[in-house]
């Protein structure tokens, strides 16, 4: 097991290195150079040169990358051009908000997605199955930002139950306030993810239902619900975990948009405003941190997968 974990850790390195190279190289692609873009059209040549020296952009390219990478390894992405605060400080300030949203939304999606998949798979082709499959197709097809707008229209504008703009309230400080504030963003994101979960889990359940052990269980006279919950579901959850890992990318992307709909102060909104203000160090920092988080979570899922399924060799 330890050698498996080590091997996977080593495999992470090229992905993060190539990723860091691409993220750093972003700056080279900015038309007219990043400093001119940051300082605006009215900057003089002297101002641009001074800024370039300040950012170390006057040095040879490979040295620039090396410096940037060394800084990034220590969590130092430089200062935000716009607010003059260390990039890492800004990111760390926003991460708890995104983590809380992701956690609540993920819990919600599992609570909605698994029952839908089980009910659908128990009677494939039936009316219930068709309705529920239609529901997951809809949950997947409706753009998250439009779903968010519809929720705001219903719950904030018409019913006036919930605030239309969400703040970050730590759940351990004020659980009710936190849930009130998180309700709409979490439902928006959770519904989308539940659609993906339900679709994949249903397919996985239907495949498992054709296995021999299901026939054996049935011939023993076990009730259908027990066969489903005690035998099929645990087996079908295995391939499902991989899907959940693959989906994380979509989940993070969805979180970026959802945060913007509800003006929720997470890392996604930070990134959007960094792009708007052309704050390149902040853009690079945000994307790098998201990439690393994604790779690390993938690693954890792989390890979890190998741990639960003894058939996987490591």
């Amino acid at each position: 097991m330890i050698s498996f974990v080590l091997r996977r850790l080593v495999q992470m390195i090229p992905v993060i290195l190539i990723g860091s190279l691409l993220i750093w190289a972003m700056l080279l692609g900015v038309p007219g150079g990043p400093v001119a873009a940051m300082l605006g059209e009215n900057a003089s040549a002297e101002q641009i040169l001074a800024k370039e020296i300040e950012l170390g952009l006057d040095q040879p390219i490979l040295i620039q990358y090396f410096h940037w990478l060394m800084g990034a390894l220590r969590g130092d992405f430089g200062l935000s051009v716009y607010s003059k605060v260390p990039v890492m400080e800004l990111i760390l300030g926003r991460l708890p908000a995104t983590a809380q949203l992701a956690f609540v939304a993920m819990t919600l999606s599992v609570l909605i997605g698994i029952p839908i998949a089980v009910l659908s798979a128990m009677n494939p082709g039936s009316k219930v199955d068709r309705i529920l499959s239609g529901w997951s197709a809809l949950a997947l097809g409706i753009p998250t930002f439009w779903m968010g707008i519809l929720l705001i229209l219903l719950f904030a504008v018409n019913l006036r139950w919930l605030p239309s703009a969400s703040q970050f309230i730590p759940i351990w400080v004020d659980p009710i306030g936190a849930l009130r504030s998180l309700a709409m963003p979490a439902v928006t994101l959770g519904l989308y993810v539940s659609g993906v979960l339900a679709r994949f889990l249903r397919a996985s359940l239907i495949t498992e239902m054709r296995s021999d052990y299901v026939r054996t269980a049935r011939s023993k006279g076990l009730p259908e619900s027990r066969i489903m919950l005690g035998h099929i579901l645990p087996n079908a959850l295995l391939p499902f975990i991989t899907i959940v890992a693959l989906m994380l990318a979509g989940f993070l992307g969805g979180a970026v948009v959802t945060e913007s709909v509800f003006t929720y102060p997470g890392i996604g909104r930070l990134l959007v405003s960094a792009i708007e203000t052309r704050d390149y160090p902040l853009v690079q920092g945000c994307i790098m941190i998201i990439l690393v988080l994604f790779v690390v979570v993938n690693l954890l899922v792989d390890i979890l997968y190998a741990y639960i399924d003894p058939r996987i060799e490591y």
């Binding site: 972003m26 707008i149 229209l153 992307g253 948009v257 990134l271 052309r278 994307i287 994604f294």
Partner: protein, 292 residues
């Protein structure tokens, strides 16, 4: 002629299924409206400030926006923005992704290794983040949105083509060309590629729905196609500020956007079924197929 016949046969087969048939009809209407928007007299820029933020009426079927511009005209012109961006993006994704997949699958070895590692990294970033990073570099604009959405679609094509090539690589007709001394380039593009069309075609349609969603998301975030050019995402962004005054403003573009995305997705899945089972016209489009 043979290609036309092949196309007509597949379209006829698609029309046999209710979902894909409806999707095809809807998309045809959207495309025709987008093409003939000017001929039909839809002006998305004409302001009528007195009638700003009105609901649907006989004069303005979809109501008006905050400047009194006709929402129907703006939605139709928004379709043009969406379709052009999606079309351009999918073309870029295919033109870069297909050859990469061909090379990786055909040659294997270090070329496969290098290409697939880069593809892995691109897959590791969510499409929208990738597109956002590119827009941060290129600045805001339709071309930037098109390129950003296109490049984020490259990994999908590369992976699908690579998988297809790996199954075709050892077929007799491929090795036969090799033994006759046909060059690798010739073999890749004239033997392997023509036999890889079905999954590529399906991907083109499915990716169109992804591209439209991505373009709308970028516009909604305020970093896509800039105003005043109408785009569905930008309309929803603006409409969100007027939910109290005119709810239709934020509803109509969303309905059209959702229907377009669902239609492309349904059509792609239908196409997959038709192309995979050319003789089994009774087979229903599978929902599991879209999972990949």
């Amino acid at each position: 002629m043979k290609r036309l016949h092949f196309m007509m046969r597949n379209i006829a087969a698609l029309m046999g299924y209710r979902g894909p048939a409806l999707a095809l009809i809807f998309l045809t209407i959207v495309v025709l409206l987008a093409i003939f928007a000017d001929v039909l007299g839809f002006d998305p820029f004409k302001q009528d400030i007195i009638h700003a933020l009105e609901g649907p009426s006989a004069k303005h079927w979809f109501g008006t926006d905050e400047l009194g511009r006709d929402m129907l005209a703006r939605v139709i012109h928004g379709a043009r923005t969406s379709l052009v961006t999606a079309g351009g993006a999918v073309t870029i994704a295919a033109v870069i992704g297909v050859p990469l997949g061909l090379i990786a699958g055909f040659f294997g070895g270090w070329r496969d290794g290098v290409i697939m590692r880069v593809i892995d990294v691109m897959m590791a970033l969510p499409g929208i983040l990738f597109a956002m990073a590119l827009i941060a570099v290129l600045g805001r604009g339709q071309i930037a949105a098109l390129v950003a959405v296109g490049i984020s679609g490259v990994p999908t094509f590369a992976r699908i083509v690579r998988a297809q090539v790996l199954t075709l690589r050892k077929r007799d007709y491929v090795t036969a060309v090799e033994s006759f001394g046909g060059s690798s380039t010739y073999n890749m593009f004239n033997t392997v590629l023509p036999n890889s069309w079905p999954p590529i075609l399906v991907q083109i349609v499915v990716l169109s729905s992804v591209a439209i969603l991505l373009e709308a998301s970028l516009a909604f975030l305020g970093i896509g196609v800039p105003p005043p050019q109408p785009s569905w995402g930008e309309m929803l962004r603006a409409g969100k500020s007027f939910l109290h005054d005119s709810p239709t403003y934020a509803i109509v573009p969303g309905v059209v956007l959702t229907l377009t995305i669902l239609s492309f997705d349904t059509l792609g899945r239908g196409l997959q079924t038709v192309l995979e089972n050319p003789r089994r016209s009774s087979a229903k489009p599978t929902t599991e197929g879209a999972a990949s």
